[in-house]
């Protein structure tokens, strides 16, 4: 069903903008320079709403359970977004939306999204803070794989992990031993190859209908993305398709070209937000408001059905500093208490897999996001920049730990997160590198081979259990 068909959209309400209206509006906003958008609009208004709504970060409460704070953040975000709008660099225009238009778009959100085919067809439902429901587990290796064999091993392993709801595929580093460049024909070919391999891996796991949610991680270009969506290569509308805003609030035509195609294809659209703590959003308070305001861009501008929040610390490039945990918790609480827009959370870790710090960071991140109402995209090791840094046992830990976190309230999680922070906070600047796939796993069998690696995993899980986290092994135990 093409739920985003113009006529159907029109029936929702007189203030409902369809995707064509959005495209027209990108040609009509006030013209201004990019820096003026930030210096004259974005930064002053964000500071104003943070003050007006009395948003305050408390380092001693990295997982707050203050519903009033969450609701104030939401109101601040709405006022901020309506006042500031987005910036479209392609037309050098600041495009704004009325409060009614924003609210109507949010009301039209379904609150549940169906993914996948056949036996693997599943629904991602809205969660709320402290609701005890299991989150969606999206096990993703949107990091680079050095060979097609490792790529296949990873996809197969992810799909086999009990509890895995969807997978994200790695990106291929090279085509015929050559690095491809952005917007090149080699990139387009690599995108198609990525999709072909992903389906091969899913079939090997006996899960051919399992949804692929990160679209094509190899792709940076709309043409490459759209080319790989040809049915002959295997992507389906029931997979998930990321549409990214650039930080902060930048929506260019490249992005809208992807959204245009997905809208007409009837595909599941995921808005992606990467608010930067320390960037134009300023400190934790401004970043929490900003991250919440991104949730309006998805349903309104892209016609998205769910969001991926990948907030980052501007300097450490991770999601697991004390302030970042607070930011993510607040974004999730503000969003899930006040909208029906499901939100996945992607945590970037400083450390590599097969280190105690990886487990400490992941546990802290999930204990912040899940009791706050969020869904899970598995954490990425080593700031997601080290080739072959995604490891299957670490992917499975996200399910194991996520199930425990889902049983907890925000108040339960707080003391545990503080304990975990004590273990890794002072190591963020120089984190342990950990293992890469060829060192820890046998390429032929895809099974772990390094005993020291397994020992670290086992010991760290034991340590977490002793902290009061009843983790049950689901994989390679």
């Amino acid at each position: 069903m093409l739920a985003r068909d113009n006529e159907i959209d029109r029936e929702i309400g007189e203030n409902m903008l369809d995707f064509t209206d959005i495209c027209v509006r990108t040609e009509e906003g006030q013209m201004m320079q990019n820096m003026d958008f930030y210096m004259k609009c974005f930064i002053p208004k964000l500071g104003e709403v943070v003050k007006k709504y009395d948003i305050k970060y408390d380092p001693d409460t990295p997982v707050p359970s203050d519903d009033a704070l969450a609701d104030r953040v939401f109101e601040a975000a709405l006022e901020f977004f309506v006042d500031v709008g987005i910036y479209v660099p392609t037309t050098s225009r600041n495009v704004k939306f009325t409060r009614n238009e924003v609210e109507e778009a949010m009301r039209a959100v379904q609150g549940e999204v169906w993914f996948g085919e056949g036996a693997e067809r599943k629904v991602m439902k809205m969660r709320r803070p402290d609701d005890g429901d299991l989150p969606w587990f999206h096990l993703s290796g949107g990091v680079h794989a050095s060979s097609e064999q490792i790529f296949l091993n990873l996809v197969e392993a992810f799909a086999r992990i009990p509890g895995c709801d969807s997978i994200g595929v790695p990106s291929l580093v090279k085509m015929r031993e050559r690095s491809y460049r952005v917007k090149s024909p080699l990139e387009l070919l690599a995108c198609i190859r990525t999709v072909e391999l992903a389906h091969q891996g899913l079939r090997r796991a006996g899960k051919p209908g399992m949804p692929i949610l990160n679209n094509i991680s190899t792709s940076t270009h709309a043409a490459s993305t759209i080319a790989a969506c040809n049915p002959d290569f295997g992507l389906r509308p029931s997979d998930g398709f990321y549409v990214d805003s650039l930080s902060e609030f930048i929506v260019d035509f490249e992005t809208l070209n992807k959204a245009a195609f997905y809208n007409r294809w009837g595909a599941n659209i995921c808005s992606v937000s990467t608010p930067l703590l320390g960037g134009y959003g300023g400190g934790p308070e401004g970043t929490a408001v900003l991250g919440t305001a991104y949730m309006f861009i998805g349903p309104l501008v892209f016609k998205g059905e769910y969001n991926l929040n990948a907030a980052l610390h501007f300097k450490h490039k991770v999601s697991t500093t004390r302030a970042m945990l607070w930011v993510d918790a607040v974004i999730n609480q503000a969003t899930t208490r006040n909208t029906k827009y499901p939100n996945l959370n992607l945590g970037y870790l400083a450390s590599g897999g097969g280190t105690d710090m990886y487990y400490h960071e992941t546990a802290a991140f999930l204990l912040s996001a899940i009791p706050s109402g969020g869904h899970v995209e598995a954490t990425h090791a080593s700031k997601a920049v080290v080739t072959d840094s995604v490891l299957p046992i670490e992917m499975a830990f996200n399910v194991e730990m996520g199930r425990v976190a889902a049983e907890m309230t925000r108040k339960d999680a707080l003391p545990l997160v503080k304990q975990l922070l004590e273990k890794y906070e002072n190591r963020l600047k120089e984190p342990p590198k950990g293992y890469v796939y060829p060192d820890a796993y046998a390429i032929e069998s895809g099974k772990p081979k390094d005993q020291e690696y397994l020992k670290i995993v086992k010991n760290t899980k034991k340590e977490l259990r002793e902290m009061g986290l009843p983790i049950e092994d689901v994989f390679f135990h």
Binding site: V182, I250, G281, K383
Partner: protein
Amino acid sequence: MTKQDIRESLRNAMVALDEEAVTKDTNRALEGGLGPLDTIEQALAPGLSIIGEKFENEEIFLPELMKAAEIFQSAMAILQPKIQELGVKNQKKGTIVIGTVKGDLHYIGKNIVKILLETSGYEVHDLGVDVDLFKFIEAADHCHADIIALSALLTSTLIGQKDLIEALTGMGKKERYKVIVGGGAVTSEWADEIGADGYAETGYQAVALVNRLVGKPGEAWGNHDGKERGDGD
């Protein structure tokens, strides 16, 4: 008010990001006989240095840093005519051409580095995002740059950094410029692999790297003979 009082007042105004007070104290400094370079070196630059430390320690963030750069430029607009009257040349510590490589539209990290370099006394030519590699070289030739600084967030745009070094080498210009790289997808291993002269993970590290490569961190703004400086209070 003694000269030292004026310096302290101006430095404090800079740290407090009080634009009105900075303007007032900059004029007061000139009227009080401090001289433009003394005003920069003993008041504005130390204030900026404190702001840089606060940024590094996460006490302030990019909006405050941008505000500091804006205030500093407004003070420089007052001081610049006086500097020219002194006939002082080469008041910057070095010249840097900076931009995000072809195909990459990300800019926040690049902007942070730009502001930190500017407020550390460097002349920075920002070419923006999605910059063709020959534009970098043309700009570096044109402004006699010391350093070309290349940002890339995406793995598939990293190759633009490699291309630039290859082009510089092919044109026989590799020794003329230091090439430094940074951005989300960049690692020190990548910098070594492509033969870059340096890599920095953070903005503050970028300033330290530039200082090491061309600057003189202990020396302040001017290549001057001290004539304009007051001899004390």
